[in-house]
């Protein structure tokens, strides 16, 4: 577990001190460099870089256009189940929450896919809570087999799996897996994850190594900003991405930077806001630009958690993929109700409006970026 081990070597309090001691000289050095170190990244996310946001945005814009062209990938999350055997104090799916629990059957999943396809999407992210016995490998295998020929790129955000399970799902057409560490600080992690398998910090941290070894095309990483010190967690995320690229050079790396949002039964979001732990929009933009400048090859993903105004402004400055018109409840596309959301989204524009906004930024929406899957390659 090479990547996880390297991450565990990091001294988080040292990172925090280092970030907070960066000065204008460090920021200017980082902005001049063509091969940035983690120290340079820390300078760019530090308070000292705040006055340099416009310079950072210019550089991030140029790097993104150069590498990814004038395009924006579009995908949509498909919530399969809100069953969960974990207690996580910030999440609407948390076990003790008295919400209606549901897991979509294959016919229901197919109705959702039909609704999603009708919206124009073919790049789909399957999302579940973490309930290994009821929503485990058997369910995933059945679901992938049923839908793979109806999507062009299949991503999953579910509980961390074993390496041989990832290998198995790859043979059924799994392209990408997102496993967000939430926070890289074991102490904070323990405070927010109070029951269930998700308490196992290391099992989650090692998931990206298992994915790399399983040869999954794209590995998604990120921290839930607001749980711990967002700057430290972001430095760890940036390092995580670089390590993955070095060790698993055939896998693409995708980075997300979700900010904590309010949801049913959650108090963490409000507390984080009050404690000033949550990055504001200006901080978030600084972070997006820093990721792009540090890692010109990483894909950066921005979800509907953020406001339409922020998404429209930030999209050309580093972001390569966006979700749109997302529903965060199982069955939300074919039979929308209001009861079961994992969290509240902010940008709730219909997909046509998001597409127009992308085009208004001089970008072309990309709906498909891979070939149909063929079960047995000869």
């Amino acid at each position: 577990m090479k990547v996880a081990n390297a991450l565990l070597q990091q001294d988080l309090s040292h990172l925090s001190l280092s970030i907070n001691s960066k000065n204008a000289h460090d920021v200017e050095h980082a902005l001049k460099s063509t091969a940035l170190t983690l120290d340079d990244f820390m300078a760019l996310i530090s308070p000292a870089a705040k006055p340099y946001l416009e310079d950072m945005a210019q550089r991030a814009f140029a790097l993104t256009r150069h590498r990814f062209g004038n395009t924006m990938q579009l995908f949509v999350p498909l919530y399969l189940s809100n069953l969960c055997a974990n207690e996580c104090t910030y999440c609407g799916f948390t076990m003790s929450n008295k919400i209606k629990r549901t897991t979509l059957s294959t016919p229901q999943v197919l109705s959702e896919i039909a609704a999603i396809n009708a919206m124009g999407f073919s790049q789909v992210l399957l999302v579940t809570g973490e309930h290994e016995s009821k929503v485990g490998m058997a369910y995933f295998e059945k679901t992938l087999a049923a839908i793979r020929d109806k999507v062009s790129y299949l991503m999953m955000e579910v509980q961390p799996l074993k390496q041989n399970e990832y290998v198995k799902l790859k043979t059924l057409g799994l392209d990408a897996v997102l496993v967000y560490q939430e926070t890289y600080c074991p102490k904070h992690y323990a405070n927010f994850h109070t029951r269930g398998k998700k308490q196992d910090f290391l099992w989650r941290l090692e998931a990206s190594d298992r994915l790399g070894q399983a040869g999954i095309d794209k590995i998604g990483i990120g921290a839930l900003l607001g749980l711990g010190d967002w700057r430290v967690d972001s430095a760890m995320t940036a390092l995580h991405g670089k390590l993955l690229q070095q060790h698993y050079w055939k896998s693409r790396v995708s980075i997300a930077f979700p900010r904590l949002r309010s949801c049913e039964g959650n108090t963490t979001g409000g507390n984080a806001l009050m404690n000033n732990k949550l990055p504001n929009e200006r901080d978030l933009l600084q972070l997006i630009c820093a990721h792009r400048i540090f890692n010109p090859y990483a894909e950066l993903s921005l979800s509907t958690r953020e406001s339409s105004a922020f998404r429209d402004g930030a999209m050309p400055l580093g972001v390569t993929s966006m979700s749109a018109a997302s529903q965060t409840q199982p069955g939300g596309y074919s039979e929308p109700t209001q009861a079961l959301n994992q969290f509240d989204i902010d940008d709730n524009r219909p997909v046509e409006a998001v597409v127009r906004a992308i085009q208004a930024q001089g970008l072309e929406p990309v709906w498909k970026d891979w070939m149909p899957f063929r079960l047995s390659l000869t």
Binding site: R65, H66, R67, T71, S122, D217, W249, K250, P372, T378
Partner: protein
Amino acid sequence: MLTLADQTFSSRLLTGTGKFSNVATMRQAVEASQSAIVTLAMKRVAAESQQDSTLKALKALGVTLLPNTSGAKTAEEAVFAAELAYEAIGSHWIKLEIHPDQRYLLPDPIETLKAASMLVKKGFKVLPYCGADPVLCKRLEDVGCAAVMPLGAPIGSNQGLQTKPFLEIIVEQARIPVIVDAGIGKPSEAMAAMELGVDAVLVNTAIATARNPVAMAQAFASAVETGRQAFEAGLGATHRTAHASSPLTAFLESTT
């Protein structure tokens, strides 16, 4: 005139369809480039290919479509993409791209040679994107490729002809057309490649991400034409030192 697999084309500039901000700009740029061959990624073509707006625009221009296998990491995936291209477009032309490396998108020589051999046997006209490796280019020629497409620099890097000494060897040795595929960032670099004697160049990023893609496409079109003209005219040899107009050995003429 460029000849590939017994077919002639009016332009020695090949272009691509990626990275443009919209289909209309792409179409205008391709038109301005006067390209006769345009590559497009099969992975981006809509499942119902008749509905694909890029494909429609290219068909309206009447250019030869050169589908590519971009995104493939293995020979098997590339062969699959080529077969899809044949189903979707009816094209036997295939630009073979296999790059498992996700950062620099460098071509995998082993998988490329393997896939090239498989595709030639299936009847495809194969144009492989490859490293500027003269031996690999000969091997690709041996398995029956219609051309070789060595890179000038990492793809999308706009770094120009970093591999020039190797391109010169490839041009000298090749019995099939040589097309410089990647890295060309400026019209002057395209011209330099043509002067060197390559048969054609492929330019995408430098046009698509220019501030004015249409004007840049025109600039590349004239650069490629000028470079070829210079090559055909026979460039004077270059020398490190001046050639004396009064040769030191002239005295021999008067002693005999």
